[in-house]
Amino acid sequence: MPIFTTARNNWPSGLTYLLLLLTWEGLSRVYPPVILPGPWESLQTLIGLYEKGRLMEPLLYSFLRLAAGFGIAFLLGTGLGVFAGAQELVFKLVSPAVSVLQAVPPVSWMLLAILWLGVNGGAQIFVVALALFPLFFFNSLQGVRQLPKELLEMARVFSVNRRKQLVDIILPALAPFWSAALTVSVGMGWKTIVMAELISGQTGIGASMNTARIYLKTEEVMAWTLLVALLGMALEVLVRKITRPRERRGSAACDLQESR
């Protein structure tokens, strides 16, 4: 019975993927390949890109840009977020600016970044950093605001040193907020990078997609899309796995009795 239940629980999402694939396949049979290439054709194109050596270089470029933008956003966002969480004045000064930053759509940043940094500048990195910065900022802010004050008070009374307070109280308390920010932002950053490259880049996945579209190679556009989507999902799962606090015990331990 439990096995049956598990199978039933996992079944619907598998079914959804299958239905999506079938819908895609069905529609691709109705339309010419230049309008909608089928899943099999897209996959073959992807493998073809790899075999022709045209896959890894754009992938690497996009990844490096994501890493750079992500790193900048994380350092600045958490730094300022923690600072603003600790100092009310900093919060009052910085937070409206970050809100405005957050309201500006990435596309606008893209166009402006090209003007400011030139076509060859780090426009894409700039855009990703700006898009992700508010996320890290607000999550760190929230995390600091919700630090367990009672535990910190306890640590102070017992004169526990700063390092131990940081490692055992502050970081564990901030971790869930960072985990949330990282998970959301890695997916968002990945898509933003590709979009930024599409608009302005000469290298990376977005640029390759743009070339494919200009040449009407829709099957390549689809192949890249497939790759970006799959990698995006994989990145999110990976980040969630890495940042989630480890499961430390089973549920059986819960019925420990008071020993008297």
Partner: protein, 331 residues
């Protein structure tokens, strides 16, 4: 509870299947409708030309003005996806497009044929440095090109290779508005730009633009032929049953080109509005634009030469091969 769930799933699956069938049928239906448009209904129905905001639009504007009411109309496309959707959805039987795009669509199995070529050259490599007169003076300089892998890019590469400057001149890419803005700001100095947008820039800088390369002239010097750029294509299925309509359109368009070249007048004002630029700018651009009507069979050798050059440098830009004779209407 369980049965509701199962019921809902079945409903969803069946409606999905119905949807697929419907869209499928709908597409085929419209296709046959247009292809088999019967005679009596055809003559009053308007013929639509789907055109980009390129020089080919100017004669079209003239036609829309002079043709009998409701027999000819213009629709515009900006991105290649819009053109594709227009062809797929049978929004118009006629499409103006860069020749390489047409060849590419043809190679991808889209049902189109080249009717005529109407725009030649009209593309320039310019510099803000008045001393630059020759391509060779641009060694170690960066030239900005609108659109990587498009004809401006390929033709520039062809020219550099011919002059032995390959790898000596740097090429960078952007979109036209960005390139114009950066030229105006002085952050970049050299660029390849098409007309009529180039004239807008010429006016702004009051003639301080040095014209380094006129691609039409270079092409003529090399091959003794004109450099074909934009053509009008026709939906092949539609063409089979509308020979008379096509003949009338061809004649009108040819006449429109002649009129625009002689005395644009009122047409210029409407066209300028369509381009979103002052009439004076478009008027000053006109002498720099080579509007020339050549029907498919006449233009065929030039088109084949041009596509042959594209094939050498970027085969993907024309779909991998020079199209066969069936590509040209009237063969």
């Amino acid at each position: 509870m369980k049965s509701i769930y199962r019921h809902a799933t079945r409903m969803f699956a069946s409606s999905l299947a119905a949807l697929i069938l419907l869209t499928g049928c709908a597409t085929t239906n419209t296709a046959t409708n247009i292809a088999e448009q019967p005679g009596p209904a055809a003559s009053p129905a308007a013929i639509t030309l789907l055109t980009p905001k390129a020089p080919s639009l100017i004669p079209a504007v003239y036609m829309e003005k002079t043709e009998a009411d409701g027999t000819f109309q213009i629709a515009k496309w900006d991105s290649i996806e819009q053109l594709l959707a227009g062809i797929q959805g049978n929004e118009a039987p006629l499409y103006a497009a860069p020749i390489n795009v047409g060849a590419n669509l043809y190679a991808k199995g889209m049902p189109i044929q080249l009717l005529h070529v109407n725009t030649y050259g009209s593309m320039y490599l310019i510099s803000l440095d008045p001393n630059v007169r020759e391509l060779s003076q641009l060694s170690n300089e960066t030239v900005y090109i609108p659109g990587q892998s498009g004809p401006p890019d390929i033709l520039t590469q062809h020219l550099l290779a011919k002059k032995g400057l390959q790898g000596k001149v740097n090429l960078a890419y952007g979109v036209i508005p960005d390139i114009m803005q950066q030229l105006a700001a002085g952050t970049i100095k050299h660029a390849v730009l098409p007309e009529p947008v180039l004239s807008g820039f010429r006016m702004k800088t009051k003639g301080k633009v040095s014209e380094v390369v006129d691609f039409q002239k270079e092409w003529q010097a090399e091959f003794g032929q004109d450099l074909p750029q934009t053509a009008v294509f026709v939906n092949r299925d539609w063409a089979k049953t509308h020979a008379a309509d096509i003949a009338r359109f061809e004649q009108s368009y040819q006449e429109a080109v002649r009129q625009v070249n002689q005395q644009a007048g009122e047409t210029l004002k409407i066209a300028a509005e369509e381009f979103g630029m002052p009439e004076a700018v478009l008027a000053s651009a006109l002498p720099k634009i080579t509007l020339l009507y050549k029907d498919a069979q006449t233009a065929k050798p030039e088109v084949e030469r041009y596509l042959g050059v594209l094939l050498q440098i970027a085969p993907d830009s024309i779909g991998g091969s020079v199209p066969d004779a069936d590509f040209y209407y009237g063969s």
